[in-house]
Symmetry: D2
């Protein structure tokens, strides 16, 4: 992701010859296709692709290359999206009290694993402020108790002001209102601390304990207006035993949560996900 | 499990000194404790244990050893159970069409992994008859379509006649009536082809496909009158991707199902499970 | 794999425009690309691809389509290979005493998971003969004790006579001679009962026990003249504990072995593997 | 681990009646056994146990309880060890450049998952100094390049001065001299970035890449004078593919390393490990 280049993400109705048309466009302008992932959904008659293109030898300006693709894209009735590399996506992290997911995101960002620029950390509790200060990222405390709609209005104002492209719910214990979900559709990632669709809603570890499951999990998914029902990007599980208390499940589950959200963010930021209704296509790296 | 010996399984209200009392009883009669698993449930104030005892040097007859435990057992207000080793449990396998779980059970039984004696294979479809014949196990075709209660009555009659101790639902696509569940409480093991409590009921792989999960699973559990809600013994998962069709999930899930049911049966037959309300304590081997 | 179509597998030096050229060839003859996997090895400057092409609408005969690709293939300095679908590969299974891998292969073949036609089962011990008979597959007992070279000569004669395309070593406890490896290069698949490169050679479970590992494994790989050093296709692991004896490791390891060899065969037969020196590229399904 | 209590860890030659004797001693003084893990190694004729005892109702002073056990312990020819709870073990972390394992340890310590008191962070490179400063832990830079023996002498002096009970090699890229290993036998934990015994020594991820393995791993083990051959406490693996470069393996492996070392430390500090020659018995929590 550090080379100059482009990512092209595309979905369209399936038909013969799509790969040739797209590859021709790239090769015709001397783009070098270094990675090409494709999925022809035979059940849904749809075509999905992600291309990673080196642009050093392009015979046209990169902007012209992107603009010029429109003729083909429209003829394919495609949705498509280009992204210039290297890229760091502007992301805000929303938190409440627990900090393990935030910590993981900060740590991986610093390490270079997650190409994001964290514009701000927004919390409805002050617990995570020290992490923000240590990482020199602005922290915004937003009260959600007195007037929830006002709280959400304040958050959305912050996100707009900061040109946030990705909203990460890192154990943010609030349900987003519908219009929030619509405004940021496909751009809000949540971590749910269960193996969805099991244990939707509150206290999933307590629910898991009571049900006596032998594996717990965490699910990273896009947020939609349906609670915990958005397209799943990544899931992780961990084996548990009868002697684990709900507190143990919380402890063991943190690993699942941290890994799932880190992978989910990475896939999203690298444009490795394509939302298709209730499902997410993921080309992993 | 091939040595002469005893398994003692016990549960009782927790109190100090239980381990000493039990171990004293064993040692006092020159039993040799080769495996001792214990669980003090601090949340429920209950005590659970499983002991494996070599009886070669007992100073009393094995039957007297078992009978004599009653004084202690009653004083602990315990439920307990002895089993003489080696032991082969009389089990019936109920099937419909698919044979992969049955196959796995037959194969592991022949290999000596599962100490069961399969008294019969009972099917509401004839598909599995050839497996029964090859394994020289009686096959009973029971019609469940014309008159379901009559079908279940016939099955229960077979189970009683054959002194069946364990009923294995190896992809038996019928919901057991309540009185069946009560009669064989704690003695019916089912494999459900999902990661419970996700995707209860019919067509879990189709449900999993539509939900777009990234891991599928299978759950081996005791059957109760609540559909797919009995105590879980074992769960297995397998990673899946967007390109997997429902048919692929069926294929990949077979592995989970086979492993989960084989482990579940093994744990049950080795008395490594203790049912505690909605949960199962499992001391794995 | 049941549709009429073609698989094209190809490797060549990397250069810009390969995807376009190949896709153009396919589209130019009205082939429909339903799956396209590609790997540009930036470290080795090589290009690898696997295409699955529906041929129903080809504007030329399938044979002409394959022949006509030669001009492009040669200009890319490529190694390539077409296979017509549906296809069942002629495979021989070599065994010694243990039958679990053989069983798995027979079971999955019958189920349709493995598109192979098993021409024969060849054993240097008679143990697996009943499985062969039950499956109505010829069994050849080849003595390897008195005169090993003669034994291998006999095996090779059988393989040639039966036009065997794939040799599966399903726990065949003999080291193939170098010239055997050369004659069937890229066409012999072995299952080694360890997580290679750990525990090469004999008694890997005993070695694993003594080393006190916490995970055991199995490795499915192509056989080369270097013992247990051929390109790895698939590996599976299972968690073990201090209380597991070497016999327990054998028991638990069987699962890893069965899964790894079944997946390895499936990938090979579906042309989802490309050997690249010591490594294997695998496009999983 | 936060309740007042004791852990008793014990190993001795196996014989009948050990459990009764130990449990009697505990119960005889009104100790409450809340967890009892036992392992009778039938192959080695040894007995191992770990007991967690609530001491609130002891009829003697805790010190007297521990001292008084000596008569029984000696009669069993046992090695045994008591630890009072709650306990925080004094640990030093040795590092070179990479910080992910250190980070994980600091984070889990702060969270309360690891009951250690980190006395110091010792590095032969200055890279991890900022982490030490942020966590308000002394950082010692020890030069290992000019005079390695002098460097190790300095480290040992620090460890002795600080009464360090546990030495954690958190990607410390130096081989400990034999006398160091002897002085701290059973008290040095290392993380090796491979699935041991595969890829001993330097650059295991590069080795793994070249061998083309399909799973990479990390191993947390006790350090002995034999390089990477000490008793294994925990191992973790992660699936990798042909498209992963050595740099990707480094990235993916970090997860394995972090989890394995965190679990290994936790097991050690909670006295859940017993070293038995080349192997480690681990009673997980």
């Amino acid at each position: 992701m550090s080379r100059p280049g482009l990512i092209l993400k595309l979905s369209c109705p399936d038909q013969a010859g799509i790969v040739a048309k797209i590859a021709n466009y790239v090769a015709g302008h001397r783009g070098n296709l270094v990675e090409f992932n494709q999925f022809s959904d035979q059940l849904g008659s749809k075509f999905f692709a992600r291309l990673e293109i080196e642009t050093a030898d392009l015979d046209v300006d990169v902007q012209d290359f992107m603009d010029g693709f429109g003729t083909l894209g429209r003829s394919l009735q495609a949705d498509w999206h280009f992204r210039r590399l290297p890229y760091r996506m502007r992301a805000a992290v929303l938190v409440t009290k627990t900090d393990h997911c935030l910590n993981e995101i900060l740590w991986r960002t610093e390490l270079g694993e997650l190409p994001v620029e964290i514009t701000s950390i927004i919390g409805n509790r002050p617990n995570c402020r020290p992490h923000a200060e240590h990482a020199r990222i602005p922290f915004h405390l937003v009260d959600m108790d007195a007037d929830k709609p006002a709280g959400f209005a304040e958050i959305r104002k912050l996100l707009r002001e900061q040109d946030v492209e990705l909203v990460i719910l890192a154990r943010f214990m609030q349900i987003l209102p519908d219009d929030f979900c619509r405004e940021f559709a496909g751009r809000v990632i949540n971590i749910h601390h269960s193996f969805l669709p099991a244990f939707i809603g509150a206290n999933p570890y307590q629910q898991a304990y009571e049900r006596g499951v032998k594996l717990i999990g965490a699910t990273c998914h896009y947020v939609t207006a349906d609670l915990d029902a958005g397209p799943i990007i990544e899931q992780e599980v961990e084996r548990v035993h009868h002697f684990h208390t709900p507190a143990d499940l919380v402890r063991l589950g943190r690993n699942c949560e941290r890994n799932a959200i880190a992978k989910g963010i990475r896939y999203h930021v690298h444009d490795r996900t394509i939302i298709d209704g209730h499902r997410a296509i993921v080309f992993p790296d």
